[in-house]
């Protein structure tokens, strides 16, 4: 384990490099924050949205690579994009995510835990998700926001791979437990605004990704590439049926139990168009995996 500690301005920030997941988890909490690829965390630290006294660097601590359907949480999106061993939906979702540099830096574990792109949240409006009493997006600019479960918070979850993994029925192994990926996420409530069930000292270690008969990930965005999803649709066909999951449409990755479930959306005045896109992409995704 290496320590580096230098006085930075008024406060000391430290960095530790544990060599096992258990040691990393033990180092978390009490102002210590896990740092993997850093693509989301480093900007959030600079903006003061995440505060840390100690960074726990995970590069040596968390498994990396794909073996027999098990994906190390430290595997980068770039590695997954090129991996022949994982289902097509996950490969496509990784290839469609972010930019090449971000895919080379960002890990799948970190990607699942990335924060929303909601501009109000990122610009530190005192919004519901930050612990405030209202969602600024609901009455303000929300064209990129949630159409499902969008009250009291209309933020949209930006992860493409999370939707793919949800459709694929992936299981996560953390330093404490095993859980279906759907149980990683929760909607914010008045007494708990967090969007995941991960404890502050818990780390995602590995993902178990079942092999479907067929799967795909389709994504609508504002540029041809390198944009967060307006709507992402993952479909995976298994012997017992086809599962659908969406990105960019709810505060958390959103599972649809059927294509008709789209009709239960509650779009805001400025984002009803997402519903149209979702319908078209769900139909296309189902056709693609049929």
């Amino acid at each position: 384990m290496t320590h580096t500690s230098v006085r930075a301005g008024r406060r000391r920030l430290e960095l530790v490099r544990p060599e096992s997941a258990e040691a990393a988890a033990a180092a978390l909490g009490n102002g210590a924050v896990a740092l993997a690829g850093g693509t989301d965390l480093v900007p959030l630290l600079r903006d003061g949205i995440v505060r840390a006294e100690r960074l726990v660097e995970l590069r040596e601590a968390i498994p990396r690579g794909v073996h027999d359907g098990r994906v190390g949480a430290g595997t980068t999106l770039a590695e997954l994009e090129a991996s022949p061993e994982i289902p097509q939906a996950l490969r496509e979702a990784c290839a469609a995510a972010a930019s090449p540099q971000l895919r080379s830096m960002g890990t799948i574990g970190g990607n699942l835990l990335q924060a929303t792109r909601c501009w109000y949240w990122r610009l530190k409006f005192p919004c519901y998700l930050h612990g405030g009493d209202r969602c600024h997006a609901r009455e303000g600019q929300h064209r990129e926001h949630a159409i499902f479960a969008n009250a009291p918070c209309a933020s949209a979850h930006p992860s493409d791979p999370a939707a793919a993994l949800l459709a694929l029925g992936a299981t996560l192994r953390t330093t404490r437990r095993e859980l279906p990926i759907g149980e990683l996420y929760r909607l914010p409530t008045d007494d708990n605004r967090r969007l995941t069930t991960l404890e502050p000292d818990e780390l995602i270690v590995e993902l178990d990704v079942p092999a479907p008969k067929a799967s795909t990930y389709l994504k609508a965005m504002d540029r041809q590439k390198w944009a967060f999803p307006l709507v992402g649709v993952a479909a995976a066909r298994f012997p017992d049926g086809t599962r659908l999951a969406l990105a960019g449409v709810a505060p958390i990755p959103w599972a649809l139990d059927s294509s008709e479930a789209i009709d239960r959306a509650t779009p805001l005045p400025g984002n009803a168009y997402k519903l149209e896109i979702a319908r078209a992409l769900v139909r296309r995704a189902l056709e693609a995996v049929a």
């Binding site: 609508a220 041809q224 390198w226 078209a280």
Partner: protein
């Protein structure tokens, strides 16, 4: 011989009457077509330095002892500063100075937009300066922001009085028109986002100030800084050797220069003030949004009889009237035209010039309107434009206009539309659209250059201009090489420093090449005459039979000598040529023209729009460097695609806070959004314009792109998109409207007499 004249000067479409001292422009233009160097592709003279990361931009400057400034900018769109307490900030580690409202004229105590500067801090490091800002205590009194431009105009809250224009009798003409089309178009606020943010490093040397700045106008900065600080202009030196993009937003000194100058004065140290990307996107200007309520009347044969427009520019807290009404006045031969342009003063960041300001927005409205007229009359859109071709406007002849030739050269691209439409497949509908372009770009005096030739037979052009990335340094080098009969690698160029060369033009309004090029040629010709004079004495020949070609002195009677042999006689002496830009042709309009043909594919189920191909044909006079020119055309079109499809500054409707400050939320086009681009330039010298016949090319290519794409979308889908950007939301809305309209004989807002 210098001459004093009273003349009109134009920058970015704004004319003013000025006195100008001009030099005669005695040289005849070169014949049309490629020369030895001019008119042939040349790679960028600064290319290797830039590509190798060796070019030193303002951002790369590190002066000994330099401090870093940060700026506390208003987080509110409209507020009063009741009290500022700098004491905690001043006590913070590394802080050397802090200034508040009134201590530099750009720091204010009542803010009219988010991002307006209130306090600035200088510290040993950027991190310390940034940390200190959090210790500044400001007591804000929030005021209601006014954000709606229509509302502001209704209340008379405007930046300048509305400007009205009328020729003929629009109402009478509309009453007699066979068809009248009315439509409302909207364009969004667009952010420049040059990759090098706005910044300056200021250093005092006694009573003199050095300003290193990322700028489009070295001499304008010198005058603005001198005037605001009460210094004689020659005590301000402005330096900008390499510049990381401007697109119109870097014409002035900005608050950062004055902040750096004041903090440098107080600390006795050089101070850098550099905007972050987020500051850039609130405090450095924008292309203002517009609302355009337009009417066109036409006869059934396609003759336009009336054009009318009510234009509202959402100018922001301050700014000038970008001529959104310009294209309607100048593009077509229409006897009856009426425009009103209002500039709303609202609590949003002030506009700045952005690549053909006003004309980009106005062309979108007008050229979409023309296609709606063409559709109603069932006339081919290209034919409609030919039918209404303007041979002159306001009784002032064009110095040159070859738009008809542009239309002719557009035909092969336009004829592809049957084949393009036939490639529609499933939800993907394909179509083709076109739009015309008119813009300024004639440049003007004053501009000067010197050319120095030493005994090594190499020439150096010296002029205090800037190359903002458009490639003008290369064009100037080519022009000098051509005139001196030298290969381009024997000509150097010194630019970017007001202390090291004469006055040079602003790089805005597509004016650098047409302003500087003739001055450089004239300086090179002066040097060439002197060389010929020396050669005549050395070889005992008459001057009139000697010329400079291919690095040699060539005599018409057969002899030739290497240039070095003659100038080698100089030893430490130098040949110094001096040149100036002559006047623009009196009584003429100098304009650029063009047409673009866009091919698009639209996924009608998801609203996705892909631009697949754009053919651009522009008439900008003589083309000095076809390679660099094609890059300008491509770049303009790609920026135009961003403007059309993905870029939009969004405000929180309640507070007026800019929500799209970062480049994940504000979507610039990427390499994956780039269509096939076919760039054709007519390369016909303007015989009336200077010794070069070249107009500017920086802006024309962005002007018609949005309208061409929107018209292609209509061709593909039948949907009228009248609002930029054409996001998926807007595209799906327009498709829904078109669908609902089916079965109804009349278009919304249109009537047939």
């Amino acid at each position: 011989m210098a001459r004093l004249i009273r003349t009109e000067k134009e920058v970015e479409g704004r004319y003013e009457e000025v006195w100008l001292v001009v030099d005669e422009d005695a040289l005849d233009q070169w014949p049309a077509g490629p020369r030895e160097v001019v008119g042939r592709p040349a790679t960028r003279v600064t290319g290797p330095l830039r590509a190798r990361g060796e070019a030193r931009y303002t951002a790369d400057l590190r002066l000994p002892g330099m401090l870093h400034a940060t700026v506390l900018r208003s987080p509110h769109a409209h507020a009063r500063v009741n009290r500022v307490d700098l004491s905690r900030a001043l006590a913070a580690p590394g802080v050397r100075a802090a200034i508040g409202p009134g201590e530099a004229h750009v720091l204010v105590d009542e803010v009219g937009f988010q991002g307006e500067a209130v306090v600035a801090v200088a510290a040993d490091s950027y991190a310390e300066a940034r940390a200190a800002l959090e210790l500044v205590d400001v007591d804000w009194e929030l005021l209601d922001p006014l954000l709606d431009p229509d509302d502001a105009v209704r209340r008379g809250q405007v930046v300048t009085e509305p400007s009205r224009y009328e020729r003929g009798d629009v109402d009478a003409a509309l009453a007699q028109a066979d068809v009248v089309v009315e439509a409302e178009y909207r364009t969004q606020t667009v952010l420049h986002n040059s990759l090098e943010t706005h910044q300056a490093v200021c250093e005092w040397r006694g009573d003199s100030l050095d300003v290193h700045i990322s700028t489009q106008f070295i001499w304008g900065i010198r005058d603005e800084v001198a005037s605001k600080l009460g210094l004689p202009p020659d005590q301000v030196r402005v330096v900008c050797e390499f510049m990381g993009g401007g697109f119109g937003a870097k014409n002035g000194a900005g608050d950062y220069t004055f902040i750096a100058a004041e903090l440098a004065r107080r600390t006795g140290r050089p101070v850098r003030c550099m905007l972050t990307r987020r500051e850039e996107n609130v405090a450095s200007g924008n292309r203002n949004a517009t609302i355009q309520r337009l009417t066109a009347g036409a006869r059934s044969d396609g003759t336009l009889v009336a054009l009318a427009g009510e234009f509202v520019n959402a100018t922001g807290w301050s700014g000038w009237p970008a001529p959104t009404d310009g294209p309607m006045k100048t593009l077509y031969d229409c006897e009856n035209v009426r425009t009103v342009l209002s500039c709303a003063k609202i609590n949003t960041p002030p506009m700045q010039a952005f690549r053909a300001p006003g004309y980009v927005e106005g062309t979108f409205g007008l050229e979409c309107l023309l296609d709606e007229v063409a559709a109603k009359l069932d006339i081919d859109p290209l034919e409609l434009r030919r039918l209404n071709y303007a041979h002159e406007a306001d009784e002032r002849p064009f110095s040159s206009k070859n738009l008809m030739e542009c239309y002719r050269r557009a035909e092969p691209h336009w004829r592809r539309r049957d084949e393009v439409r036939a490639r529609s497949e499933g939800p993907w509908k394909r179509g083709v659209g076109l739009a015309s372009q008119v813009w300024y770009g004639g440049g003007g005096p004053p501009s000067y250059a010197w050319v120095r030739v030493g005994s090594d037979g190499r020439a150096t052009v010296v002029t205090a201009m800037q190359d903002i990335g458009t490639g003008t340094a290369t064009a100037m080098t080519q022009i000098a090489a051509e005139e001196l009969g030298l290969p381009i690698d024997r000509v150097g160029l010194v630019l970017g420093d007001s202390a090291r060369g004469p006055y040079a033009s602003i790089s805005a309004g597509s004016s650098t090449t047409p302003s500087m090029g003739p001055a450089v040629r004239s300086a090179a010709a002066d040097a060439a005459r002197q060389i010929v004079g020396i050669a005549a004495q050395r070889y005992d020949k008459e001057e009139r039979i000697l010329s400079l070609e291919g690095g040699r002195i060539v005599s018409a009677d057969g002899g030739s000598w290497p240039l070095e042999e003659v100038v080698g006689l100089l030893e430490d002496a130098q040949i110094l040529g001096k040149g100036a830009r002559g006047p623009n042709p009196a009584g003429m309009q100098v304009l650029t023209f063009g047409v673009q043909v866009a091919e698009v594919a639209v996924d009608v189920e998801t609203g996705e729009v892909r631009v697949e191909r754009v053919a651009a044909i522009h008439d900008v006079g003589r083309v000095v460097n076809p390679l660099g020119a094609s890059s300008q055309v491509e770049g303009g079109i790609i920026q135009g695609i961003g403007h059309t499809l993905s870029e939009e500054r969004l405000l929180d409707p309640e507070t007026g806070i800019v929500l799209t400050q970062t480049l994940d939320a504000y979507r610039l086009p990427t390499i994956a959004d780039t269509p096939e681009i076919v760039a054709e330039l007519l390369d016909i010298p303007d015989e009336h314009l200077t010794n070069l016949g070249s107009k500017g090319l920086g802006e024309p290519p962005i002007v018609p792109t949005a309208a061409a794409i929107a018209n292609a979308i209509r061709d593909a889908t039948g949907a009228d998109v009248r609002s930029l950007p054409i996001t998926r939301e807007e595209m799906l809305r327009a498709l829904r409207d078109a669908h609902e309209r089916e079965g109804r004989p009349e278009k919304v807002g249109a009537r047939t007499a």
